[in-house]
């Protein structure tokens, strides 16, 4: 839930997560955009759903893939940018 009390954001843009178009506000991390969508951001090899954990760059459980370059980044430390395409898992 984005807090609206006392907070002003700029006009949103779009990013693409697993083919799904999601709104993102300038300054938001990829983690923030993802968490507004679902707490689930991937699955283990055995198929169990997994989410984020520490939100401070320490646990590395929020690794996502920036497409098409293929760079893996921690979603909690990486700002969303207009047109960004992200793969989960």
């Amino acid at each position: 839930m984005r807090i609206e009390r006392r907070v002003e954001r700029q006009a949103p843009f779009s990013i693409i997560v697993e083919g799904e178009t999601l709104p993102a506000y300038p300054g938001e991390t990829i983690a923030a955009v993802l968490i507004e969508r679902s707490p689930t951001i991937g699955r283990t090899a055995s198929g169990a759903a997994r989410g984020m954990f520490c939100n401070m760059g320490t646990c590395s459980l929020c690794m996502v893939t920036l497409l098409p370059e293929g760079r893996r980044v921690r979603a909690c430390l990486t700002p969303a940018e207009p047109g960004l395409e992200i793969g989960l898992g």
């Binding site: 839930m1 807090i3 009390r5």
Partner: protein, 456 residues
């Protein structure tokens, strides 16, 4: 950004800022590296520049920290190197250190004659059945979403653990318009009160630090948020995400949970550098051992703030001032006598903060309150290693040997989450000699192999 600095400070929180400000204007080339884009550390994790947030962190206890942050941001002659992670540091050929640093676009090397580690702390990760379900976060993780990204990561949140910080986080959630289903303290209320009373003198002198907890309690009462004592989480339930928490007393419907059992120092870099470490707080972990000027056992390497022992932001700030002044001595910029007089105020303030930290540490002590781990409970989240895989290996072998045999600790987090759990399991299995935990390995943070092979 310079390729070589006189001093690199790792961490732009209260300790790192204070050290940089203590050295500003001496003509030294100083760079401050931080994983966040903006300085502040976790205590003042700032909203993005693009947001406009009215009355942010207005509590009285934050005022001195905010003042220092604005001074730091205004300082000239300090290079702010945000959005970067230090993967490792090694002695540089002949002189100082070479830091391997990753950023958004790849890996680079930064050299420094001296390095101050002010890397802070992290939440103690506490396993229990169901804790890998999406929607379970560290308490600090939830707080950072609220403070910085201005997001409440759930519609109905339960806070559970032993650390009083969870009262403040619950209050911040409620003040932001979110809903807290309950705050659960594993310890009994009368035990906490007895500990508080036993430290009455110290508590009275540090009353301002306790006020936020009182204000938080009042706010939670107004919003009818139950705060319960002597109630521990037993299991987290849900199919593909958190649906409820089962405690020792009842089942509570919720879609997010913050686990709050205390904090352990960030120790990857000092351990990798070979600095002497000592056992951390009651919550576990490892603190960097330092002399009175925060020199580590490695020449030219300093550590200040929570990485030398978790004691709170105010204490970290005083440590940064002392460390920065000590570094000035070692650069020959000031006599030891002059330096001693410069930090006398910081030292007396620090002594006071440490007394309060000790009280908080006593009250928040998680030992004896850890939830029971079942055979299928995941201990190592990165490698998905359940406790059933580890139990047969608890035959007297070391943490490193268990890691090799089970993959527990081999994942991307480099064992930061599972090491305290494994060390508790080792101690519980009757292993009596001290285990120094996992050998710290490069890289301290995940990095693409291609970036390492072809640095910028």
């Amino acid at each position: 950004m310079a390729e070589r600095y006189d001093l690199v400070i790792v961490g732009g929180g209260p300790a790192g800022q204070a050290a940089a400000l203590a050295l500003e204007g001496n003509g030294l080339a100083i760079g401050v590296i931080d994983e966040q884009l903006r300085p502040g550390g976790q205590i003042l994790r700032q909203p993005p520049r693009e947001f406009s947030v009215a009355s942010w962190m207005t509590g009285k206890v934050y005022a001195p920290l905010l003042k220092q942050l604005r001074q730091f941001e205004a300082a000239t002659g300090i290079d702010w190197l945000g959005g970067r992670s230090v993967l490792g540091l090694a002695p540089d050929a002949g002189h100082g250190f070479a830091l391997t640093v990753s950023g958004r676009d790849g890996v680079e090397t930064i050299r420094a004659s001296r390095v101050l580690l002010a890397t802070g702390c992290q939440d103690l990760a506490v396993p229990l059945p169901g804790w890998t379900l999406p929607g379970v976060y560290t308490a600090g993780g939830i707080q950072a979403f609220v403070k910085s990204q201005q997001i409440v990561p759930g519609n109905r949140i339960v806070m559970a653990g032993t650390h009083p910080l969870q009262l403040l986080i619950a209050a911040q959630i409620v003040a932001s318009g979110g809903t807290v289903a309950a705050v659960l303290f594993a310890q009994k209320r009368r035990t906490m009160m007895r500990q508080l009373a036993g430290h009455a003198l110290k508590a009275a002198r540090e009353a301002s630090a306790l006020l936020p907890a009182g204000a938080a309690m009042a706010l939670l009462q107004r919003h009818r948020v139950p705060v319960r004592y002597g109630e521990s989480p037993v299991a987290i339930l849900g199919k593909d995400r958190v649906e409820s928490l089962r405690s020792t007393e009842r089942e509570i419907a919720c879609d997010a949970i913050g686990l709050c059992y205390g904090f352990v120092p960030q120790s990857a870099l000092p351990r990798m550098a070979g600095a002497d470490m000592i056992a951390g707080s009651r919550a576990g972990g490892w603190s960097t051992e330092c002399d009175a000027w925060f020199r580590t056992s490695v020449a030219g390497l300093y550590a200040a703030g929570e990485t030398t022992g978790v004691a709170g932001a105010a204490a970290a700030r005083t440590a940064g001032t002392i460390a920065g002044t000590g570094i000035a001595i070692d650069f020959g910029l000031v006599s030891e006598e002059e330096a001693t007089s410069r930090v006398s105020h910081a030292r007396s303030e620090r002594a006071r903060h440490l007394e309060f930290a000790d009280l908080l540490d006593t009250i928040a002590d998680p030992s004896g309150h850890f939830p029971r781990i079942e055979a299928e409970t995941i201990v190592c989240r990165c490698e998905d290693v359940p406790s059933a895989t580890i139990t047969p290996l608890l035959d007297g072998r070391s943490a490193n040997a268990v890691k090799l045999a089970s993959r527990c600790g081999m994942g991307l987090c480099q064992g930061r989450n599972c090491e305290p759990t494994l060390l508790r399991l080792l101690a519980g299995s009757g292993r009596t000699d001290e285990d120094n935990g996992f050998t710290a390995r490069f890289p301290a943070r995940p990095v693409m192999l291609g970036d390492l092979a072809a640095p910028k």
